[in-house]
């Protein structure tokens, strides 16, 4: 049997009700002890359910899993397409290669880059201006699919006089004050080239995570025409 959300929901509620009823048998419902026992049962069951779900979720979202891919995806072309079967937008990885900074990264090298990228992102508290996977602050754009943002190709490559998207991103991250595109500028966070490259790799990798369709129809805008 496949266990989905409905089974989990029904099972936890059912167990709480039944086990609680057994343990409080014969007690008046106005007796505080009645509710104490129900509180213990209910909390314990929900907590156990959370633990089980946590193990399952962690197994399904390991780096290298179907949902959270291996860092070597930075060697491939990444796209974001509507999946009619799932009913939501999903990253499409490859099959064609698309090298980052003209280099093919081994598993180990790619992992090193991702670790570095994450450290840079935390050290500058990017999440207190931006959202990543939709969590953080609301002062600056969501970065979940920043790698796929059409503005890099349409505007920023030319603005930064770069040849590739990744070069434009590195230049922007190193000098966001210089390449600002509106009055609310990103400050210069003293990011060096090595750090900027790691961040770009991180953003490319993050764009390949299956986020159940968030953000919906990314890049298909009725508001913005380049």
């Amino acid at each position: 049997m496949k266990v989905g959300w409905l089974e989990v929901t029904v099972a936890t509620l059912f167990l709480t009700l039944v086990l609680g009823a057994v343990w409080t048998r014969g007690r008046n419902w106005l007796d505080p002890e009645f509710w104490k026992r129900y509180a213990i049962i209910g909390s314990a069951i929900m907590f156990i359910a959370l633990i089980i779900l946590t193990f399952d979720t962690l197994a399904k979202t390991k780096i290298g899993s179907d949902r959270v891919p291996s860092p070597t995806v930075i060697n491939y072309k990444i796209d974001y397409k509507y999946d009619p079967e799932k009913g939501y937008f999903k990253p499409v990885i490859g099959p064609e290669k698309e090298l980052l900074f003209g280099k093919e990264y081994s598993e180990e090298e790619a992992m090193e880059l991702i670790v570095k990228g994450k450290l840079v992102i935390q050290s500058r508290a990017c999440m207190d201006c931006h959202t990543l996977l939709g969590n953080g602050a609301y002062y600056a754009p969501d970065l979940t699919k920043a790698w796929l943002d059409p503005k890099w190709e349409k505007v920023m490559i030319a603005a930064t006089q770069s040849k590739t998207k990744e070069e434009a991103m590195v230049k922007f991250l190193m000098h966001p004050d210089k390449y600002a595109t509106w009055t609310r500028r990103m400050p210069n966070l003293d990011i060096d080239e090595e750090e900027a490259k790691a961040v770009v790799a991180y953003l490319k990798w993050m764009a390949a995570i299956n986020t159940n369709g968030f953000p919906d129809h990314f890049g298909e805008s009725k508001l913005v025409k380049f």
Partner: protein, 479 residues
């Protein structure tokens, strides 16, 4: 210290040590509340004038100071509340008064160092040194690792103190039982936020354990205990009724809030079953909050609003309704995955976050502080009352509602323009931010924020003066 406390709170010579420690925590808490608002105002002003302190103190730093000051002062306020009710519940003074003071100084010192580093150093290079000593860069729990460990250690001392006092008194009430278990969970959860992983899905998975399981589970139960105790003291509700309700609330809060965690697992890479689990259980989370309103209003009705402590009673109402509207209603608005897919990470969350924290947790702290003020300044009646607390009360509510309303408009408009019509890109973001329905509310938020700050000072003034001069003697039967 004794002198400072006397000056702020009144004659404390008769207080048990435990309650003096409570006042120490509350003094720092109220000061940090002011700091929180100051940095919030700067952040709000940077929305309007992004050049303001652009190189000196960018938005992420002002915001970080704003929300970290909030978490710290609310927690310190709760610790104060626990120290305040401890002698009452156990019938004796705290066992380790000296230890309690040391813990207080350690915590306050650590907070001061962290804040100074935030202000002066701000950010570091992308390496582990930064994580350990400057800034961990994870919203709400940015504090560097050394401070994390320190905070947990200090929490351990405080916990030991409470537990030892309960054991020595050989008396445990239902309130204390719930409190002791809840505090373990609360401190234990913080540990879930103390490691580094390159996997952002794991990162956010555990991060929400801390943030959600704090505010929607363990903190909610903690304020259940504190408010239950407050109701007994402000209205004289019998303990049996309080404890029966508390257990019911624990059942409902944990029963819905633990799996309600799933409403943060829709879009972070976690499996699809969280859409159903999170949507279902988090939709039920408002139920305990309704129960709390029923409880407070019913108790107050039974006693025909007769009380010896007007401000505390009214802050109890604010807590009950604020928690229900801020957490329950504002939370429910965006909790279903079908809605959250579009509203996720917009000003909607800011609107909800402000009302929920203010209603549920700021109000709880103020209730307890006013109970303390009455105990110190008007222990034998007549009644603790003043004009200024009413001004502060109404003023803070109106300005908070103004801010939250402005953010709600901005949130709807952002959701609509950036996410529904637009394609959620960089440029869609900019277009939506420049739309008048997002832009103008940012001015309103700042305006109401300034107003809130003014009423904060009225509140502080009232806390310094209420009950100090004799008010007109009103005959009130203690309920």
């Amino acid at each position: 210290m004794e002198k400072i406390l006397t000056r702020f709170w009144g004659d404390i010579s008769n207080l048990p040590e435990s309650r003096k420690i409570a006042l120490m925590y509350w003094t720092v808490a109220i000061a940090l509340f002011g700091a929180q608002l100051l940095f919030g105002l700067i952040a709000a002003y940077q929305y309007i004038n992004p050049d303001f302190l652009y190189t000196v103190m960018p938005f992420n730093i002002t915001r970080m100071l704003h929300i970290n000051a909030m978490v710290v002062w609310l927690l310190m306020g709760f610790i104060g509340g626990i120290y305040w009710l401890l002698p009452d519940e156990t019938g004796r003074d705290v066992v380790g008064a000296k230890l309690g003071r040391i813990a207080f100084y350690l915590l306050t010192g650590a907070v001061a160092v962290v804040v100074l580093v935030y202000i002066l150093v701000q950010m570091g290079k992308g390496n582990f040194f930064t994580m350990w000593f400057i800034n961990e860069g994870r919203e709400y729990i940015e504090a560097p690792r050394w401070a994390d460990i320190g905070i947990v250690a200090v929490m351990g001392i405080i916990y030991y103190n409470v537990l030892a006092t309960v054991l020595k008194a050989k008396k445990i009430t239902g309130l204390l039982g719930v409190l002791l278990i809840d505090l373990i969970a609360l401190a234990g959860l913080y540990v879930a936020g103390m490691f580094f992983t390159p996997n952002i899905t794991y990162d956010q998975f555990w991060w929400w354990w801390v943030v959600h399981l704090w505010v929607e589970a363990t903190w909610e139960v903690l304020v259940g205990v504190l408010m239950g105790w407050a109701l007994m003291h402000v209205l004289g509700t019998p303990r049996r009724i309080i404890e029966g309700w508390l257990y019911l609330e624990v059942l409902l809060v944990f029963g819905t809030g633990i799996l309600g965690l799933g409403h943060h697992y829709y879009w972070i890479g976690t499996p699809e079953y969280w859409l159903g689990i999170g949507g279902f259980f988090s939709s039920l989370e408002p139920i305990p909050l309704v129960a709390m309103i029923v409880h407070a209003v019913y108790d107050a009705g039974v006693h025909k609003l007769q009380t010896v402590n007007r401000p505390a009673l009214f802050f109890i109402f604010l807590q009950a309704f604020g928690n229900f509207f801020g957490a329950g209603v504002w939370g429910f608005m965006h909790t279903l995955p079908q809605i959250n897919l579009y509203s996720h990470g917009t000003q909607m969350a800011a609107s909800h976050g402000h009302l929920a924290f203010f209603g549920a947790y700021v109000a709880t702290n103020l209730v307890l502080m006013y109970i303390a003020l009455q105990h110190i300044r008007a222990p034998h009646g007549p009644i603790l009352d003043s004009k200024t607390w009413k001004i502060a009360y109404v003023g803070m509510i109106v300005s908070m509602v103004g801010m939250v309303g402005a953010l709600l408009v901005a949130g709807f408009a952002q959701t609509f323009f950036e996410r529904a019509i637009g394609g959620a890109t960089w440029q869609d973001y900019i277009m939506s931010q420049m739309h008048p329905w997002v832009k103008i509310p940012m001015y309103w938020r700042l305006g109401f924020g300034i107003l809130f700050f003014i009423f904060y000072f009225v509140l502080v003034y009232d806390m310094l003066t209420i009950g100090k001069k004799k008010v007109e003697a009103v005959e009130v039967k203690p309920a």
